[in-house]
């Protein structure tokens, strides 16, 4: 009964909204030309300029920001000089490419098994063959440095939050916020204080990946089987003994999985941090996107994908190796030690070789297939866009004309107070009065920022992409949830999809759809489908088997089981997936500023490249944050109220 009422209310709000929008279309839309500043954005710009001007004089800089910047830059440069850039007076890094390959092979072999080591080596060599050796090394160095520093902070804090309810309570809002915040938003504020360059990029990466390390470590400690811990206390263990002898050993596998997640987050951030001067593979990706050279983008993109698979496979294999506490037989252990010892010696020999033989030190220029890859992909893209025009452009135009444009008219070209009231009313109906009040506050701030219109453009794209994502994602999710064969087939793609940096998805989409709004939307869809499918399929699979059996015995058809049993029982998972999907989509849609999506993302990127637009870019970043929190709160509340 109340449910029916709710949907009636929503339809009512929608009808009034559409009517008002028709009547007042184009009035009070708060539109602002791209290059135009409001007094607020220019004063933010002035403030940013004065911060920048203070860099050599201000006490905060001299005693805080600058020393941190120097220390972190120094740390990263040491790692880079080992594997990537010429060290000291030498013309080569401390370890040449052959040595790096040997180290990777040895490390992966020692922590997991031969097959994973072979995969890792092949991927690394492929990066070299793509002509991306040094970029790859820079990315690895940056990722390694940021992960090391992130874990140094994240694991201890995570352990603390795992043991203390108070610490967790204090941290939770920040951890939640970090999950909502799109990567793009982190960059400009950090660059303001730490300059463009490796330090900013490393710190931004840390800010992004530390919450992940904290969250998973705390979760690992909290979700342990409590019975051994209680037993340990009953025997008189001190808190320290309980931690080191009971909790940490038990949580080890989960913490290594946390390291895997931290590594993947850091990698995806290091790639995007090219925007604030991070060395590495992000740079050729950005360059290719700017000049719209899909083939060139593919070359760099492949290298990113290879590095992602390399890091993911090797860290998750290491976690898998910890699955059981039962060790092998002593004979197997001895044989393992001999293997590791021998391969270690081999690795050391390779390192020395890579320091003395030039062709093993510097990646040989003759092994380079980047031009071929570029040509082939450009060719393929051209073929697709000319021959499959009807599908790509047809689909794009269909969505643009029938979904995107009408929704944009409704959201961005109605008077601002009409749209704002409509959103607040919707929030009230599905989330309750408190969420409605929060939404009012957040949206009012967006209005005050002067970027309302741009925010509504971004929101439109986010909603359209989410709708399409959910349509595809729920269908696939049901399939994967019901069929273990489907799971087997799709699982590798879902895993890979979750680990790839959002940035690289832009490249093929740019090839298919050209620089348009739709490119960002399509990228958002492709990027967020894996997470949606995962959550929905887990929800479907966790429906108790007894419910399915009861429905089957009662004579239900497959369709009835899905619609009347599984979907209602998995409703919470679906809402949760919608929330996650929206947050993922938002993160990508703003990056789409690169390929012509407009909206807030474009302003952020513009702010990074044009000094006079810096203020507006910073405000746009803040508006993205406000928009993200609004979306998240409304979606969370609707999930909670079911």
């Amino acid at each position: 009964m109340t449910h029916l009422k709710k949907s009636h209310l929503l339809i009512g709000v929608g009808l009034v909204w559409i009517t008002l929008s028709r009547i007042f279309q184009g009035d009070q839309t708060l539109e602002l030309a791209t290059s135009e500043n409001t007094s607020f954005t220019s004063s933010v710009g002035d403030a940013a300029a004065s911060i920048r001007g203070n860099r050599t004089k201000g006490a905060a800089f001299i005693y805080f920001f600058n020393p941190i910047r120097a220390a972190i830059t120094g740390f990263v440069e040491i790692i880079r000089s080992i594997i990537s850039v010429p060290s000291g007076n030498s013309i080569i890094p401390v370890i040449g490419w052959f040595g790096v390959v040997a180290i990777v092979a040895f490390t992966v072999y020692a922590t997991s098994r031969l097959r994973t080591a072979i995969l890792a080596v092949s991927l690394l060599l492929a990066c070299g063959a793509l002509g991306m050796w040094q970029f790859t090394m820079d990315t690895l160095a940056m990722t390694f440095a940021s992960v090391l520093l992130s874990l140094l902070v994240g694991i201890p804090v995570g352990i603390w939050a795992g043991r203390s309810d108070r610490v967790l309570k204090i941290l939770t809002p920040f951890l939640d916020l970090a999950q909502i915040l799109p990567t793009l938003v982190y960059l400009a504020p950090l660059a303001l204080f730490f300059l463009i360059g490796t330090a900013s990029a490393t710190i931004a990466t840390m800010v992004y990946s530390i919450p992940i390390a904290i969250r998973i470590t705390a979760h690992a400690i909290r979700n342990l089987n409590q019975s051994p811990i209680e037993a340990a206390l009953s025997m008189g263990s001190t808190p320290k003994q309980t931690l080191t002898k009971v909790q940490l050993p038990m949580a080890k596998q989960m913490i290594i999985l946390g390291i895997n997640q931290t590594v993947m987050a850091a990698l995806s951030f290091v790639v995007i941090a090219a925007l604030i001067g991070a060395p590495g593979l992000g740079k050729p990706v950005v360059d290719a996107l700017i000049i719209r050279n899909v083939g060139q983008g593919f070359v760099a993109g492949f290298a990113v994908v290879f590095v992602a698979i390399l890091l993911d496979r090797s860290t998750s294999a290491a976690a898998k190796a910890q699955e059981s506490f039962i060790p092998l037989t002593s004979q197997q252990i001895r044989r393992g030690r001999i293997k590791v010892g021998l391969s270690g010696l081999l690795a050391i020999a390779s390192i020395f070789a890579s320091r003395s033989v030039l062709s093993l030190a510097v990646w040989p220029g003759s092994i380079n297939i980047s031009q071929q890859v570029e040509d082939v992909t450009n060719h393929a893209t051209k073929w697709i866009t000319t021959n499959l025009y009807i599908f790509t452009v047809g689909f794009k135009d269909f969505i643009s004309n029938w979904v995107l444009n009408p929704l944009e008219t409704l959201l961005a070209f109605s008077p601002w107070f009409v749209t704002l009231s409509a959103i607040v009313l919707i929030a009230a109906v599905i989330g309750g009065i408190r969420v409605a009040m929060l939404a009012t506050g957040l949206l009012t701030l967006i209005v005050l920022s002067g970027l309302w219109h741009e925010a509504m453009i971004t929101l439109t794209q986010t909603i359209v992409a989410t709708l399409l994502t959910m349509g595809i994602g729920i269908t696939l999710g049901i399939w994967v949830g019901r069929s273990s064969r489907a799971e087997k087939v799709l699982r590798p793609f879902l895993d890979a999809g979750q680990t790839l940096p959002a940035f690289v998805y832009l490249i093929p989409m740019l090839g298919l759809f050209g620089p348009t709004r739709f490119t960002a939307i399509a990228t958002g869809i492709v990027y967020s489908i894996p997470v949606v499918v995962k959550i929905v399929s887990e929800g479907i699979r966790s429906v108790p088997i007894a419910m399915i059996e009861a429905a089957t015995v009662a004579g239900s058809t497959v369709r009835q089981i899905i619609t009347k049993v599984q979907l209602p029982a998995a409703k919470k998972s679906i809402l949760l997936a919608t929330n996650q999907g929206m947050i993922f989509v938002l993160a990508v849609v703003v990056i789409g500023g690169f390929v012509g999506s407009g909206g807030l993302g474009y302003l952020v990127i513009l702010g990074g490249s044009k000094p006079e637009m810096q203020g507006k870019g910073l405000v746009a970043g803040f508006a993205i944050l406000l928009l993200g929190v609004t979306i998240d709160r409304i979606a969370q509340a609707s999930a909670r109220r079911t």
Binding site: S237, P249, F325, I326
Partner: protein, 355 residues
């Protein structure tokens, strides 16, 4: 009647030694301002009324009892009766709201964290329903854990662990990991670990509830054997009355956080204090618990009173064969004093439940 009152109040330490465990007015109340409930009129409300009125739940309400040295004291109750909270209050894994717990005369509710750790390391230990073994350690290192945290050297603690391994019948399993063992074997490890420090008191929290019935019976025998060999004082929690009767010297029956009745198995079966206890003990085979004293009655006119004589403290089940084979009623006497007679009919009536 007199005897029942005595044992309920003073704890059946018949030899005058001070009790090993003594609990006085113990409370555990969850909720806002828990101390205000202790001893107040509200405490007499039912659980749901109390929660409705104050938002508090009283898990343990004004519990007092004594456990004699070497005694096996069983706390028996259904789930939610507060027995698990009670045993955790005794070891301060849960902090009691009010009351005192004396172990060998020392009030552990006042012990500093330091002293509490000492007591836990040396004076008492605990066995858990879900074993609580460390999955990353071998059996021997699980058993040696309490010695290890007390700073004992590796060779020494392994030697001690090996002794206990033999004691509980884990021979040959020292280097297995917990997940390689069956539930029953895992609980043997739990028992061994608790015995490793040679504690004065052993607390067992539903130690066999997670095991299947056949294994459970073996383990109950094992506890009885260990108790006979080592003579440890035990506080044993269970929800299974037949287990309580089997292992317990005395049983406390708990309901809604309070103790309803304390007594020997015989006392509970013979004279349940209320319908609740009566309901519980209904399914217990009386002949397995009661002694001849319970059946002894004056002779009716015409009955033979020159039958064979049996001791009053003989379990009826054990006496049944003799009585049924004798054609006369048997004479029951206690310390030479004649209490009455028991006939074959009395036995049959009791066993068939007609009585």
């Amino acid at each position: 009647m007199v005897e029942e009152q005595r044992s309920a109040s003073s704890g059946g330490a018949s030899d005058g030694r001070p009790p090993a465990v003594s609990v006085r007015g113990l409370w555990k109340v969850y909720g806002p301002n828990p101390l205000s409930i202790v001893g107040s009129p509200d405490a007499t409300l039912s659980r749901s009324e109390l929660r409705a009125k104050t938002g508090c739940t009283s898990a343990v309400s004004d519990v007092s009892f004594d456990v004699a040295p070497g005694e096996v004291f069983v706390v028996m109750g259904l789930s939610g009766s507060g027995k698990s909270t009670l045993i955790r209050c005794l070891t301060r894994l849960v902090e009691p709201t009010a009351g005192e717990v004396f172990l060998d005369g020392e009030d552990i509710s006042k012990a500093t964290p330091q002293r509490l750790r000492e007591l836990r390391r040396q004076h008492f230990s605990m066995v858990f329903q879900h074993f609580g073994l460390l999955p990353h350690r071998k059996v021997i290192d699980n058993i040696a854990y309490p010695l290890e945290i007390n700073g004992m050297k590796k060779a020494e603690r392994h030697a001690r662990a090996n002794e206990v391994i033999e004691l509980v019948g884990l021979h040959g399993y020292a280097h297995a990991f917990p997940e390689q063992l069956s539930g029953g074997m895992q609980q043997r490890v739990g028992l061994a670990r608790a015995l490793a420090v040679d504690p004065q008191v052993l607390f067992l929290d539903e130690p066999f509830s997670a095991l299947d019935p056949l294994i459970r019976r073996d383990m109950q025998q094992e506890v009885i054997r260990l108790h006979r060999e080592l003579g440890k004082t035990m506080v044993f929690i269970t929800h299974d009355l037949s287990e309580a009767v089997k292992v317990g010297d005395r049983i406390a029956i708990m309901r809604d956080g309070a103790i309803v009745q304390i007594g020997t198995p015989e006392e509970l079966v013979a004279r349940p204090i209320d319908d609740y206890v009566a309901n519980f003990v209904r399914d217990i085979a009386k002949s397995h618990v009661l002694t001849l004293k319970y059946l002894a009655r004056p002779a009716l006119s015409g009955e033979d009173i020159d039958g064979p004589e049996l001791a009053a403290n003989m379990i009826i089940r054990d006496a049944a064969e003799i009585i049924l084979q004798t054609h006369k009623p048997v004479r029951v006497s206690e310390n030479g004093k004649f209490l009455g007679i028991v006939s074959s009919e009395d036995i049959l009536r009791l066993i068939s439940g007609v009585a």
